[in-house]
Amino acid sequence: MLSKRIIPCLDVRDGKLTKGIKFKGNIDIGDPVEAAREYYEQGADEIVFYDITASSDARNIMLDVVRRVAETIFIPFSVGGGIRSVEDMRAVILAGAEKISVNSEAVKNPALIEEGAKAFGNQCVVLGMDVKKVAIRPEIPSGYEIVIHGGRIYTGRDALQWAKEGESRGAGEICLNSIDADGTQEGYEIELTRLVSSQVRIPVIASGGAGKPEHLLDVLNEGQADAALIASIVHYRTHTIQDLKTYLNGHGVKVRMQW
């Protein structure tokens, strides 16, 4: 059977990691290519890069990072952040990424999902969703609302409906980030993850809140996630990916144990 995927997420600005990542001997790695190599060697199943570069002039720096990553690691990786057109997608894919992730850009221009899927195939297009828990109201029947720009702007879109719309527009996968859980290290938003994952037929990556191995176990089992995105839990060396997989494997979750 298919293994559940463990996916580290790296934030990149102007070609550098936004937070240094502590590795062996407490060496601080600021180079996204070196960080990707470390996680590849630790058994990451995939890697997500999120480009938070503000200026569009610096996009070529990110493309160079993508090219160097593609020459270094031989597992799939995706790139998100600031992708506004099919041409932006093409540049990232030709540089060597398997998938591109669209988030705020797709909320503003939903046709971007279809255009990307038509040009590169559904499997290339990941719909990133930032979600906040809100009071249930007629336009937000699930009680989860899509927010954009790092959670600053409420869109009036229901998260479950947007997930289904994304699927029907041709997204091949959903990366579901709980803004409430993000950065807390207190566990994933299990209820939200289960709600979305059980109602779409494309894979769902749970994101936001991983602080302990138990959190991954919960979201992959109870949350029915197909994959778990992780950041601080491995960036600060609290755990290695191998530790997390050994724990999950010991608790009956099928994960890839040999690489």
Partner: protein
């Protein structure tokens, strides 16, 4: 020199990057003259079968591929490349190259896991491949190795004796075939870490005979 057939089907450079990492000279090309001069061919691809066949025909590569495989030289199909060497695909109801007897089918929509939950389509991620017999291209792989898949359609050869790798995803499907000078895999060896690179390295040293 390894020829990587360019028929405008997705990103073909990832295979070239993996070969470059292995130190194997290769060229991504649609020029039959250059392809003829290669000693082995990789036929990769991502996308839809119908469009792939249109591109292959318009470039004259459909006939070229049949002749190449018949010539006995080592050939490796990957993902969509593997699917279009069959007779037909349910994707776009496309007539394909007919090099391998059989068809390519869509995963049924009602496949369920052991807990009774619907399985997600595409089949995306890492899965085990069971190799019931040995083959020079699939040697030296760790027993628990997994490979990266991303597909909604699966190969169904008419003759099971062509199958060299089986994978389970709600149903048991053919993940790899081997017949004479042809090997073809549904998964992506270029994205499957060390075991995937091992398969590519094995292929680069393979003479094209289906025996150790």
């Amino acid at each position: 020199m390894i020829g990587i057939i360019d028929y405008k089907a997705g990103n073909l450079t990832s295979v070239a990057r993996a070969l470059h990492y292995l130190g194997e000279p290769c060229e991504v090309t649609d020029d039959p003259g250059i392809l003829d001069s290669c000693d082995r061919i990789i036929f990769p691809g991502v996308g839809a079968a119908g469009e792939a066949m249109i591109n292959l025909r318009s470039q004259g590569l459909d006939r070229w591929l049949r002749e190449w495989v018949a010539s006995g030289k080592p050939t490796l199909g990957i993902c969509l490349g593997t699917q279009v060497i069959f007779e037909r695909s349910e994707e776009n109801d496309a007539a394909c190259l007919g090099i391998v007897p059989g068809s390519v089918r869509r995963f049924p929509g009602d496949l369920k896991d052991q807990e009774g939950r619907f399985l997600k389509i595409p089949h995306m991620g890492w899965n085990h491949v069971d190799f019931p017999r040995t083959h020079p291209v699939f040697k030296d792989l760790p027993a628990a190795a997994e490979f990266y898949f991303v597909h909604s359609y699966y190969p169904a050869p008419a003759d099971d004796s062509w199958v060299i790798g089986w994978t389970d995803y709600g149903l048991r499907f053919c993940a790899a075939i081997a017949h004479e000078n042809l090997v073809a895999v549904q998964f992506h060896p270029e994205k499957s870490g060390t075991p995937g690179l091992q398969i590519l390295a094995n292929f680069c040293r393979w003479g094209g005979q289906d025996a150790q």
